[in-house]
């Protein structure tokens, strides 16, 4: 048969399963429902931050326009440029000193703008001079087409052979007379994309004529963006959802800002799941502790009660009751039922014992009755032994053993012939040997009854003597069990105070004297003392009460 699981294991299993089910449900809810909410919230957040950035970017562009308008009023630059053109037109030759002046002033101004290049463009669109880090991409003399470049101030995108530039410019004028334009260009390259990205905290993709020229997002995302031809909204790029916002659509150039909604939601969801994991860990721990405590609360008293029962069973003490644990009504009911069971078993056993005792007593009485002289002998020895045992403060159990053992002490005489038992006169040695066999015989008979195992020593050894001259083994002193010594003294006392076919009964005081005389040799001295104490008025043995107690009247009056 399979061993059933421990209560603790079962409780823990149930608890863990429940917690796991709850957590699974919560996890599903979070990943399905909360993810959507997070996504919506993140999209809103992105829109807000993009609006803020757009406003800032617009402001920045306005500032740039204003700055360019201011720079375009540089008197020396304008004067030199106008003089240069006027002279070239008038005389056909140009003053390189004036060109150098313009170039020098432009270079100075270039250091004051964050742009990659600052250029002076002639009215016919040719680059007069350029300065700044990207000036090499604006070679002098090259024609550059700036959409909207004829406006007093303008912003657009210019595509040069060296790359596309976002330009902000202002015309150089005297009244309504334009002599050229001052143009600040920002290269639409990785640096600019990175700068925009840093400011907007979004990804940036720059395309010119549909080709990606700069990006701060993975290549595949940028390519998908171009392929999608999207100009805004939510677009799926490289299997992720992106919020796309057009930042600049100017000429052939497009600047997109894009943010992965999934990535943002992922962070928030991860945070939520992390919190959930903490809660899960905590609840599992609490549930484990709780169920452990509960299981212990239930199993410990059960273990205690079953341990007690095991102890009781091992010691065969069924006379005491189990205490109620008070931990649970069910366990107390079980304990009470057990106690009731023990009590009823006790009662049944007592009944059985009584029946046994009755039969044994009847057997003993029948035995005694074989010889009129020994009638009631077993009962008297039993009563005497019990009295002595009480004087010696023996435990009740041993008293009971004493009572029954004494009753049966001469059971072996069943195998001794009546002829010898009733022989009126001294026994021959042979006859006496036969008599001496009765303890061993009695023991052999009683060995058949396990119930009487503890009484065996009394039956077998009640003729041993402290001086070792007893039979059947000749044991000495303390080697002889106390019960056997007690019965030995009681037997002798009763035998002496009883009449025999060959002699009259002696008085109890005479018997006492006899016992005391052989105390320590034939009789155990402690037992003799006990007998004396058990019969306080031993000197007045004729007293009726004692006589009755001893059951002597049967003998004395017959």
């Amino acid at each position: 048969m399979r061993t059933p699981p421990r209560l603790l294991a079962r409780t823990l299993t149930v608890t863990f399963v429940m917690v796991a089910v709850i957590l699974t449900v919560v996890f599903v809810v979070i990943t399905l429902d909360v993810r959507d909410r997070v996504r919506a919230a993140e999209t809103d957040k992105l829109r807000v931050s993009e609006n803020v950035f757009s406003a800032l970017e617009n402001k920045r562009q306005q500032d740039q326009v204003a700055a360019m308008a201011t720079l375009a009023e540089h008197p020396t630059l304008k004067a030199a440029l106008d003089t240069y053109f006027t002279e070239r037109r008038f005389s056909g030759s140009s003053d390189e000193q004036l060109r150098a002046t313009v170039t020098g002033e432009t270079a100075k101004l270039a250091t004051q703008t964050p742009a990659d290049v600052l250029a002076v463009v002639e009215t016919d669109g040719r680059i007069f001079t350029s300065a700044g880090p990207a000036a090499w991409r604006w070679p002098v003399g090259t024609s550059v087409d700036i959409p909207g470049g004829a406006q007093p101030v303008f912003q657009s995108v210019a595509v040069l052979p060296g790359g596309a530039f976002r330009v902000t410019g202002a015309r150089l004028t005297f009244g309504d007379r334009a002599i050229g334009a001052l143009v600040a260009g920002t290269s639409l390259d990785g640096n600019y994309a990175q700068e925009l990205s840093n400011l907007s905290t979004a990804g940036v993709v720059i395309t010119v004529n549909g080709a990606v020229v700069a990006r701060t997002v993975p290549d595949q995302v940028a390519r998908d963006l171009v392929a999608s031809r999207a100009s805004g909204g939510t677009v799926t790029l490289n299997a992720e959802e992106y919020a796309v916002r057009p930042m600049l659509f100017s000429g052939p150039a497009r600047i997109f800002m894009l943010t992965s909604v999934d990535a943002a939601a992922r962070t928030a969801t991860r945070d939520a799941l992390l919190a959930l994991a903490m809660i899960a860990f905590g609840s599992v721990l609490l549930a484990a502790l709780g169920s452990f405590w509960l299981a212990r609360q239930v199993s410990e008293p059960i273990n205690r009660v079953s341990g007690e029962i095991a102890t009781m069973t091992a010691a065969r003490e069924f006379d005491r009751t189990l205490e109620l644990s008070g931990t649970s009504r069910e366990l107390d009911a079980l304990t009470t039922a057990f106690n009731d069971l023990i009590r009823s078993l006790d009662a049944a056993e007592a009944e059985t014992r009584a029946a046994y005792l009755g039969s044994i007593r009847a057997l003993a009485a029948a035995l005694d009755a074989r010889d009129p002289y020994t009638a009631g002998h077993s009962e008297r020895v039993s009563t005497l032994s019990v009295m002595m045992g009480r004087v010696m403060n023996l435990p009740p159990k041993e008293i009971e053993v004493l009572r029954l053992g004494a009753l049966l002490h001469d059971i072996g005489k069943i195998g001794v012939s009546d002829q010898i038992l009733r022989k009126n006169g001294p026994l021959t040695t042979e006859e006496f040997e036969q008599i001496k066999r009765h303890p061993a015989l009695g023991a052999r008979i009683l060995r058949q009854v396990p119930f009487l195992a503890s009484h065996l020593p009394i039956v077998e050894l009640h003729h041993e003597r402290p001086d070792g001259r007893g039979y059947p083994f000749g044991l000495r002193g303390e080697d002889i069990p106390l019960a056997a010594r007690i019965v030995h003294v009681a037997d002798a006392f009763d035998a002496m105070t009883s009449a025999r076919a060959y002699r009259a009964a002696r008085g109890s005081s005479e018997a006492f004297a006899e016992l005391q005389r052989f105390s320590g040799t034939q009789f155990d001295s402690v037992c003799v003392e006990a007998l004396l104490a058990a019969i306080p008025s031993a000197n007045d043995i004729e007293e009726p009460a004692l006589a009755q107690l001893l059951g002597r009247q049967l003998v004395t009056h017959h």
Binding site: E73, H74, P75, A79, T83, R89, A178
Partner: protein, 229 residues
């Protein structure tokens, strides 16, 4: 007074002038005068220089009349000829140079009086004459003498939108048209000449004209309208 009538008067005056000089100067016989009109607007074919009659076709005027004051008509290939020094004036008024264009002979002086209640500055970076008159307040005037022929751009360092042009010639054959665009170059040596109408902004138009001695030839200029922004 109609343009035709005025032209007749001018023509009469020119004839009188020619007659007056004819007797005193032997070379006078070989001189003629050039008259004409400058307009700004849609380009039309210039009248043939040899045309014997004047054709006055009203033209669409696309620029304010005052723009015509910014035109200088001159003989482009004129030989170096001494001419008396002149005295011209460019005022600074309402943050503008008035007039914006003056034409003078070599050795002339141009004064720059300040009429504005604010400081102005007058400077030039031109090869012909580089100067800086510094800053001066209302009521003050500073002058500059121009000893070399050429074009001189004048600016104000304080007000970067202000500009003026001084054209310095080493001959007397130049003029600024009146507000109607009419001009006359008298005593032009007979022969074929390149005549230029120069405008500070609209560029210049040069035409060839054969000047007959003792005659007044007519040439009309139409300066192109600048590309509208």
């Amino acid at each position: 007074m109609s343009i035709g009538a005025r032209n007749s008067v001018l023509f009469a005056a020119a004839v009188l002038g020619l007659m007056a000089t004819a007797g005193t100067h032997p070379a006078a016989q070989e001189r003629g005068s050039v008259r004409g009109r400058v307009s700004i607007g849609i380009p039309v074919t210039a009248k043939r220089a040899t045309s014997t009659y004047s054709r006055n076709v009203p033209t669409v005027t696309l620029a304010p009349e005052s723009e015509l004051r910014h035109v200088v008509v001159y003989l482009k290939d004129a030989p170096r000829t001494a001419a008396p020094a002149m005295h011209a004036e460019i005022r600074q008024r309402n943050e503008n140079f008035v007039p914006r264009v003056v034409a003078v002979t070599v050795g002339s002086t141009v004064d720059f009086p300040n009429d504005d209640p604010i400081y102005h500055n007058v400077f030039s970076l031109s090869r012909t004459k580089t100067f800086d008159l510094g800053r001066f307040p209302k009521g003050k005037s500073r002058g500059e003498r121009f000893d070399k022929p050429g074009v001189v751009k004048v600016f104000c360092q304080i007000h970067s939108h202000m500009s003026a042009t001084v054209m310095v010639f080493d001959h007397p054959w130049f003029t600024v048209p009146d507000e109607g665009g009419t001009f006359e170059l008298p005593n032009v040596p007979a022969g074929t000449h390149q005549i230029t109408a120069w405008h500070e902004r609209l560029g210049d138009t040069t035409m060839e004209l054969r000047v007959e001695p003792g005659r007044s030839d007519t040439i009309d200029f139409v300066l192109p309208v600048p590309a509208q922004p």
